[in-house]
Amino acid sequence: MKNPSQKNVIERAKTALEKKATYASDIDLSIFNFPEYSEEEQNIEDFPPEIQNIFRATGMEIDEKKRSASFIMVNHSIVYEKINQTFNGQLEIMGISDAIKKYPEILEKYLWKLISPDKDKYTAWAALHECEGYFIRVFKDQKISRPIQSCLLTKDNLAVQNVHNIIVMEEGSSAHIISGCTVHPNVKEGLHLGMTEMYLGEDSNLTFTMIHNWADEFAVRPRTVVDVGKSARFINNYVLTKPAKSIQSYPSILLSGDNSNASSNSIIYGLGDSEIDIGTYIELIGKDSKGEIISRSVAKDNSVVNARGHLHARTNNSFAHLDCRGILMSDDATMYSVPELTATKAPKARLSHEAAIGPIADEEIEYLMSRGLTKDKAISMITNGFLDVKLLELPEQLESYIKKMIEATTEESL
């Protein structure tokens, strides 16, 4: 789709084209190409098996039985979108460009309303170029009992994928979105820019689970802002078990409604030469809002893992906790844990954090070895347990799937 940004957005974006992001290494945007819109629509089952496996690795179900809706985008072409019959009339899912055609008010109400186009050069670039993504809306009071699945695939090497997603949860609705992002096996180098704006209406409930698989030389710069309304609950899950060149993500969750509530959980495997800089910012604005950030990371090889978290209370009686733990498993890896707490004009807010970096205790490894487990097996059991998928509060099948993914990575990286 043509760049849909409104005039004022474009003006603001233009001022930030040279503005480096606060965190992680700077990426030269000029080396990437914008792929052509050449992908044809295709049924999910008609993708070749190796591509289906790539979809699966981001939590997607090919037979869709346990899913309410599916969305697949390749480069900037939407190749598949479907709502399971049972859920007809309960939600809508479509490309953002189609959505803007159908509902022009999206421009006024949602697009670039939470994310600032002049935040940094990545948002600026995104606002000034063509983009595609999904628009998901769950209608008032609809409880979508099975996850909505989406996968965004970058197909060409050295391409940029400029994504803009909008999610609207109407009053009293609930849903789980599995948002997978991945690359074709031919892709070594590339860039994913992902703008995601989520609007949670009163009493709504959204779990947003991101499962990402990138390539060794791939860079990723998502920008996410979530507005959580009165008595709404938002769960953000991030799972990364494959290497990438550089990932920097720091979603903002704004608990603007009274009694609103958010948890942000990440499970991160730092592998190879990956630079991973991941955090969550939760701003407690509404009365009695509650927030929680949990992060578990393992750094191996030469990876650098920065785990951030910032809780910012702006209202009395808000309550939030941050729990950030890491295991460094290599002499050449680096881990940086940055918990931040801020209370602004909220003397009765309660914020706390615990952060720890440490090895697995020898005593525990030896204990398992004394039962006949090899040292490798003992270490992998403890590592897999540390990267605890239960924290994500997922449906059983997805939980066991992610658990297997983590176990496979542990096994491979021994």
Binding site: E363, E364, L368, S370, R371, L373, M381, G385
Partner: protein
């Protein structure tokens, strides 16, 4: 089954065991007595090969094979099992997952049936020993040993801190490991450290040893040794052993 020849052990630069000689024959159960701090746990941990305990003299043979240089996990897989006096908690690993990992392929009995026998059905989903009470830790240890089915079972104070009902549970399971009909046929053996001897209600011991200050100083009939200690403590002829 097990032979210790002139074993001395240190931790750091501290000598903990001195010239230990011990022979455990197939199908026998030994008890090991001695005051606190005398080196009983150290001896059992040395036999299974905990890396902290450095053997400075002597050799250990298991079924005729010199295992002095074998690692902890190799010894465990050869058939030595230790029920720890104070095991660590392992965060992130559930008791059930650990039991499944311990069992070898031919071990068909479901973990749940052991959990039932040891009154641990509510614990198998929890992290191993994490927040377990003293008695629960002992049962968790016995359950893991049951899954391992070692040929030589080392029990470090299996009954301490356990109430009488639970001693019965533990006693029966331990009996099934070392002295059941099948275990006897396979010639399984045990070394049991005990201060109170309650466990002996469920097991018959063939031989006893007394340890003080890192030395084995007396060997004999377990009942006689035990009754002696009950009467006189670890004293003999007015002298502390």
């Amino acid at each position: 089954m097990l032979k210790l020849e002139n074993i001395s052990v240190e931790v750091g630069n501290k000598k903990l065991l001195h010239n230990i000689n011990l022979h455990i024959k197939k199908g026998t159960t030994h008890i090991l007595l001695g005051p606190n701090g005398s080196g009983k746990s150290t001896l059992l941990k040395t036999i299974i090969g905990m890396p902290k305990f450095k053997i400075t003299t002597g050799s250990i043979y298991f079924n005729g094979i010199d295992i002095t240089d074998k690692t902890l996990d190799e010894r465990a897989r050869m058939g030595i099992g230790l029920m720890f006096q104070n095991p660590p908690a392992v965060k992130g690993v559930t008791l059930e997952d650990l039991c499944e990992a311990i069992k070898n392929k031919d071990h068909k009995t479901p973990t749940l049936s052991y959990a039932r026998a040891l009154n641990l059905t509510n614990h198998i989903d929890r992290n191993v020993n994490d927040g377990f009470s003293g008695g629960e830790v002992k049962r968790s240890e016995v359950m893991q040993i049951k899954c391992q089915e070692p040929k030589l079972v080392l029990l470090d104070e299996p009954e301490s801190g356990v109430d009488l009902d639970n001693i019965e549970l533990i006693g029966k399971v331990i009996h099934s490991i070392i002295q059941s009909h099948k275990a006897k046929k396979e010639g399984r053996s045990g070394i049991i450290v005990t201060h109170v001897g309650y466990i002996l209600k469920y097991l018959s011991a063939t031989e006893g040893h007394i340890m003080t200050n890192g030395r084995l100083i007396l060997h004999g009939d377990p009942k006689v040794l035990f009754n002696d200690i009950k009467k006189h403590g670890f004293m003999k002829k007015g002298k502390r052993l």
